[in-house]
Amino acid sequence: MELLSGADMIARFLKDEGVEYIYGYPGGAALHIYDALFRQDAVKHILVRHEQAATHAADGYARASGKPGTVLVTSGPGATNTVTGIATAYMDSIPMVVLCGQVASHLIGEDAFQETDIVGVTRPIVKHSFIVKHPTEIPTVLKKAYYLAASGRPGPVVVDIPKDMTAPTERYEYVYPKKVKLRSYNPVTRGHTGQIKKAVELMLKARRPVFYTGGGVVTGDASEALTDLVQRLGYPITTTLMGIGAYPQRDRQSLGWLGMHGSYEANMAMHHADLIVAIGARFDDRVTNNTSKFCPTAKIVHVDIDPSSISKTVRADVPIVGPAGSVISEMISLVQGREPANPEALTEWWERIDGWRDERRGKLYEPAAPGEPLKPQQVIEAICEATRGEAFVTTDVGQHQMFAAQYYKFDKPNRFITSGGLGTMGFGFPAAMGIKQNYPDDDVVCITGEGSFQMMMQELSTCKQYGIGVKIVNLNNQSLGMVRQWQDLNYKSRHAHSYMESLPDFQKLIEAYGFTAIRVEREEDLLPALERAFADKDELVFLDVYVDPREHVYPMQVPLGSMRDMLLSKTERT
């Protein structure tokens, strides 16, 4: 029998659970736990410079590796600083466990120093939360937390730990719980066979089918199965922003991603489809545009692990509750040896789709004229080339995020890492740190803008401490580009607080941390700068790339319209 304090139980549990990294920041209520971490070396703790960065780093780690991320913070401000990161993970269904120190039990409710009801604060943005009531509960509570975070539809779980629960003087028996059971929580492991059969019949009979797949395929590790199914049928596929890479984007059947700034052909195909097979996607408003005009001629098959996602915004004709992987595998076995019933209709469908592709070919953006500032789109294309399309790419939020998604071509899942649901500026840089630690031999690029980067730039210090060699490409347009774009379109170009005056000299700023920064203003400087940046995988390099502030992101769906109502450039509209 082994007797451990609550704090040592936490450290020991994390080791037994196979946790490699914790991202965190110490403080009074967490000090017993920090002391326990100090006295072991199985679990590595990464000291961030702001608790929000800890959640984003853990999030990035989780997205790239598929394993839950772990965060450790103190009570009060330490805990409230994690809120944005928890909400980010919640909206994108990312497995994460956030351990929060709390004031001692006898002080709870007395407005004690650094006391916050963090379980109350985070209640609407967690999958579940726990308050530890007795040190002996710690192993089971933590096991439940990791189990809940990673299973079913993943999500963040908060564990609030009052300081007296971790007191070094009280020791109790520790046993690692190999399994936990929750009577009220039984995530589905497979879909309803009858429904899957019905869906497959519709798929084989379809004349104008489109696969529309989302983050559920990526988190469900179902990309290979999806690719197999889609290629067997020969149907077009579009993904959501969160689903990018689940199907190789360079393949002919891929229409790119869909929605507000999705590709012209993807949105047109969706609008004209007679069957939409949605897998692990949630018909988000940035995808559907006006739901009353959404895909008027399509029947909808909707596969999702979360029943509450089905028929939430758009009614499904064939709902299937189940994990993407097993449902797709079952679909494959039903499709095997059968052919689509309407080959001529499908040929015609592909002709229309190719027609839409041809309409926009070569017109996506106007390349920079000599002497003019670089276009953000060409910078992304150059990054894609410099990294052979194989890097992990994180982004912040705004125009640069959309450009990165549009012009970097991803053939693998988990490579495009972005805050899709919450749209959190400041996400990209700490997320890149979390990824780089798990994939030290890969290129990890944070594509950001000068607005977003300044929200989390203190993490340069963390990168310096742990030698984290991420690459940062700052698409510097000296303004909050997406806000500015909306102001151009909807507010007669009144740029209310979307400009970025008094920008720092990024080069000096980066150099102050001992890193290399290169300022790029001309086209001829771009490639050499990228070569320099990617020369050494272990070195943090920052490229401050000045781009045209007048550029807009297109296509852009017209508000309240259908999927096919899009602005295609400053002067063209569907």
């Binding site: 609407p124 939360s129 809940l148 009577r183 009220s184 929580y185 029943p307 509450s308 009614r315």
Partner: protein
């Protein structure tokens, strides 16, 4: 349409706030709510009446089911059920009003449970519509205070909501 949803949930601190929070967070209505322990000490039963079309009610039950603390639930209005609410009402009872109140109480099969020279306290059970009707009947005389428990319900016949 009005629905009565009965929920068995873990008798844990915070479970109630998760259920209530879900309704405000997702813009669902709560018309009445009651919650109490059951014969199983580990479970509480919560009954909520809410209003919404089929799509909204479907979302409500799905989201409730997603809460880790919710063990099982039933939409009682989907089948035959018994619905009851208890109300305590203080009404003015002076002079001739005293007989009038007593008569109305008898008609509604209610009971007077406390008496002072000027006030009767009435206890009445029934479905929500009956309680509303009683309040309406009393309003010309003068309703001083109302305490309602909110709707509780159970399905008719052999169907049971248990683990």
């Amino acid at each position: 349409m009005r629905h009565i949803i009965s929920i068995l949930m873990e008798n844990e601190p915070g479970a109630l706030s998760r259920v209530v929070g879900l309704f405000s967070q997702r813009n669902f209505n709560i018309e009445s709510l009651n919650v109490a322990p059951t014969d199983d000490a580990t479970l509480s039963r919560l009954t909520v009446t809410t209003v919404g079309d089929d799509r909204v009610i479907e979302q409500i039950t799905k989201h409730l089911n997603k809460l880790i603390d919710v063990v099982k639930l039933v939409d009682l209005t989907e089948g035959n059920h018994v619905e009851r609410e208890l109300m305590l009402v203080k009404v003015k009872a002076l002079g001739a009003q005293r007989d009038e109140v007593k008569r109305t109480v008898d008609i509604f099969r209610a009971q007077i449970v406390d008496v002072t020279p000027s006030v009767y306290t009435v206890q009445i059970t029934g479905d929500a519509a009956k309680l509303d009707a009683f309040l309406q009947a009393m309003s010309p005389i003068g309703v001083l205070e109302v305490a309602r428990t909110g709707v509780s319900g159970i399905s008719r016949g052999d169907k049971v909501l248990s683990l």
